[in-house]
Symmetry: C2
Subunit: 220 residues, 2 copies
DNA sequence: CAAGTAGTCAATCGAGTGCTTGAATAGAGC
DNA sequence: GCTCTATTCAAGCACTCGATTGACTACTTG
């Protein structure tokens, strides 16, 4: 099959990489990886969040494990899965970047969903950084509390969407409030901005997330 | 199927991303993308380089095109394909990073191939940058000349492996010569270092490549 | 317009994938 | 040891994918 030793090496190397890519080549698994990037979870919880059967979710996790993208540890009755490393999260962010840059359909889709009546363009990374620097905005993390606890953007306040109304007293009415969540395809921040605007706040959302920032910081 | 509108949105978004990942989930296509990241090429040339039939190569290119990863333009008799954008190259670099970080088998494989008798550890990015800064090393690009012409590392000298012996007069015998090529799975630089060492040079290789540097520079 | 070349398309086959269902396993608590 | 629960395994079905072959299209050149 392979004439030279260098071809044999290349074949093997690319075959391995293809295994990794294949593990990500499924909507269900991508969603699992994105969730695990926020915080570790058990199989049962994951299954509920991605609306799949437990057995099916378990199979997907096995595939991700085979590709070395996640690992699971027994914790009492449960098995808790987590990403194998931060590079995995960066890979997904890069994948989203490619999708956003080139996939016209996807782009139209996100616009269609996010740019509704009250919708405003999301704040990009540089603008957000500048306004944070200037003390001009308050940054809120609208993910569930346990995801905030597992890691969050510096300076952010936890205000889970499910309990948003109870946190209103923490939010300034004279400054812009910027909501962030898991990434460009997470709808929590859009919903939060919508609700806050209805309540009279100057609210925006941003695509920036914990891992998109870390991905960008690698080369700094 | 999808109960809420946000689920419908997520399903669609992840389905699109999965399409992109699926396009990369094949050794042949990964190799094509890596080659196109160096310089544009025609179908026939690509087919020769990856040792596949022209028809098969064409089909793979169609799939990559559908996923918006490459695009092709007619040029006289030929169709020349190129990457759709720089993010695509970054994605592959990130994929290699994940593979290198987690795939024990792959890692062992690369060591097995590169760390042969005369082999030395490749120079990592920071060390290379420091020694370049100090004017301590001469950097040579051992890829074919047309890939050098399409873009190369700053300060590098073109010394294609196929004509290495004719370029010896350009290389210093009193300083280290560092060879680079396409990326971590490209064997050209290893071969170059081997030959130069046999000729009495202080030769090393590095994994650093045009796109791995650019990928790291994004967040700077 | 005829001939020749680069590239694509279409049909086929075997192999692999995703999801379902029902059974099996591993550990916790009694 | 027995029982309960979270997770995994195994078998099955419909569907998709990768490579091959041979025919087809599009463009250039004469």
């Amino acid at each position: 099959m392979s004439a030279s030793p260098t071809r044999a090496f290349k074949d093997a190397a690319y075959a391995h990489l293809a295994e990794v890519a294949k593990a990500l080549a499924s909507p269900a698994r991508l969603e699992i990886v994105e969730l695990l990037a926020q915080a570790p979870r058990t199989v049962e919880v994951l299954a509920g969040e991605i609306h799949q059967s437990v057995a099916n979710t378990s199979q997907h996790l096995q595939q991700l494990k085979r590709a070395q993208l996640v690992r699971g540890e027994r914790e009492g009755l449960h098995v808790r899965y987590r990403l194998a490393g931060p590079e995995v999260a960066r890979l997904v962010v890069q994948l989203q970047a490619v999708g956003a840059a080139h996939h016209a359909a996807l782009d139209a889709l996100t616009r269609g969903f996010f740019d509704d009546p009250a919708g405003l363009e999301p704040l990009d990374r540089d603008t957000l950084a500048a306004r944070l620097e200037a003390g001009d905005v308050t940054l809120i993390d609208v993910r569930p509390a346990h995801e905030f606890a597992a890691g969050h953007l510096p300076g952010a306040i936890s205000a889970p969407l499910s309990a948003l109304e109870e946190q209103l007293h923490l939010l300034p009415r004279d400054r812009t409030v910027v909501a962030y969540c898991r990434g460009p395809f997470c709808t929590l921040s859009a919903e939060a901005a919508r609700r806050l605007r209805a309540l009279g706040f100057d609210a925006r959302r941003t695509d920036v997330s914990v891992h998109s920032l870390q991905a960008a910081a690698v080369g700094a």
